[in-house]
Symmetry: C2
Subunit: 327 residues, 2 copies
């Protein structure tokens, strides 16, 4: 069978997909920038396409049965531009990485790690213990996780084993996941915000969650609260968050996702229209929390598993949109 790795990101998985495959596949790399007749020829026929985006501008390969998104998010795939007989699947594997990121940054907040790590390098050394107030510990903190999908559960489980009290908010209310003391629906959010030391956002961006953390809800948080966002920037009202942080109405923020992203036109934009970088109480990282070797290993294994399943006629995993019945 023949699979096209479409775009640089998909091509980057090639070696690990090959290593994980158990069935015979001819993998064809089509990096970004392949254009014109060469691109069309490569896309002529394929059983599967592995890609992170599908805009409909490319020809649909003859015989295509699977569009395997090489990411969890498929907002760059125009689902209606994929023929109904083609199944669309995504891939996970970033949740352990983001779980580690979350406990690392919450620990870093409590322990004042960024200033402490800069002190000796800058030739200062404050060993007069009177002048160095003691810092916090993470254990005992109340962590409120909004969105208990794979990422939210990975964060909550790790926070719990480090001694935090973890509560969850989720659209669908089930039994609390491992480590969570409770799980409530979105209607409980306002009631739980005043008790949060850390408000962790790990929900998908949807009509329901866009601007979820607005000025009113920010005002419900206690002064010691820190917001950690690994969901999407737009889950938080940008200006309201800046105002809260600048005025120290909440203690801080840990932001890995942003409101403005690099583009071809502006490859190094400021990540927000507000000067978050001028605030000392913000830990800023460049949307890198899931970008680990483990992600590549797990995601390649998921992708290879679906190619194996397609080859063997077995049910696919991580199905976003099944192939239309009877096709």
């Amino acid at each position: 069978l023949r699979a096209i790795l479409l775009g640089d990101l998909a091509c980057g998985y090639r070696t690990q997909i090959e290593a994980a495959l158990h069935t015979g596949w001819d993998l064809v790399s089509v990096p970004d920038g392949t254009a014109g007749p060469e691109r069309n020829a490569a896309l002529g026929r394929a059983d599967a396409v592995v890609a992170v985006r599908w805009t409909g501008s490319d020809p649909v390969p003859a015989g295509l049965r699977l569009l395997q998104v090489a990411a969890a998010g498929y907002d760059a795939v125009i689902v209606d531009a994929v023929p109904p007989e083609v199944a669309i699947c995504n891939a996970f594997g970033h949740e352990p990485a983001i779980g580690e990121y979350a406990v690392m940054t919450m620990l870093a907040w409590c322990h004042g790690f960024l200033p402490a790590a800069a002190e000796l390098r800058a030739g200062r050394w404050q060993m007069d213990m009177q002048a160095r107030p003691p810092h916090r510990e993470l254990a005992g903190s109340h962590v409120l996780v909004v969105g208990t999908g794979r990422i939210g559960r990975a964060i909550g489980a790790r926070a719990a084993v480090l001694g935090c009290h973890v509560s969850g908010i989720n659209r669908t209310v089930r039994e609390p996941p491992p480590g969570f003391a409770s799980l409530d629906g979105l209607a409980a959010l306002d009631r739980l915000l005043p008790g949060a030391d850390f408000l962790v956002l790990a929900c998908p961006l949807s009509d329901e969650t866009r601007g979820l953390i607005d000025a009113r809800r920010l005002a419900l948080l206690p002064p010691r609260a820190v917001i950690l966002n690994v969901a999407r920037g737009a889950v938080i009202a940008e200006d309201a968050l800046y105002e809260s942080l600048a005025a120290r109405r909440i203690a801080g923020a840990i932001l890995d996702v942003w409101w403005t992203y690099p583009s071809a036109d502006d490859p190094q934009p400021a990540p927000s229209r507000q000067p978050f970088h001028e605030l000392e109480n913000v830990i800023m990282t460049p949307h890198y929390s899931g970008w680990t070797d483990g992600l590549f290993r797990r995601r390649s294994a998921d992708i290879a598993a679906n190619l194996d399943r397609l080859c063997r006629g077995e049910p696919l995993i991580n199905v976003v949109r099944p192939a239309a019945a009877g096709t």
Copy 2:
């Protein structure tokens, strides 16, 4: 009964000791700088002295029965300068803080946190994933802990729940502590070094451990290894470590303890005669890992417990040197 809080550090515990006491004590603060007749008068009579150092230059208060060290380390107490009828006790409570510090900094190493946290602040944003190699995760790392006292056990337990494989080395070999896959004597160190992703030093400084990690043992570590030192600087051969790091024979180091410390003569010294601050592969913190609000809370509780026990005639806890029998 009367207890003297001798020195600024001991005085800093006053409020929390008072809050934790269940018996009647008259607490007298004698801050650093109290001198001459005032000092001698304050030290005239006491049932207990709480201090971090005892050099023998002060008069021994009449009726003294307990020298309560307000720290775990009592290297600043000249034991022979304390009369035999006085019990010497120390206090712990920093181990949860240092356990958190260790997993925080190991995570920070794996996730390249310090450079990532500097990137957006500096106006850079590297979102070209081809140019950003994926970083490591902590889970799956082999962590070798030298010294499985309170601190070593606190570190190993936390590393284990985050998915690390933890081995221990200790002078006294018992059952492996919770989370440890194995526990061996010091003779096994050379055999275990080649398998370590993280070599964690959490042993006391003694004749046996001074210079323990020397050039020969550094050479036994694999190129990916990172040394984490929360013991004492002198456990590692200073020049040999610098050479190994500068030549990238090992991957990195996380150092919270140093070879040179601030003194009255030199309050802001470089922490080593080697320029560790010029190396990118070193995470440097100013001996602050245990300095948390939780430490104060736990340590004050320990100190108050011993004052209560002395008042009630109950056995003391954390005894370093018991009062001589028959006194």
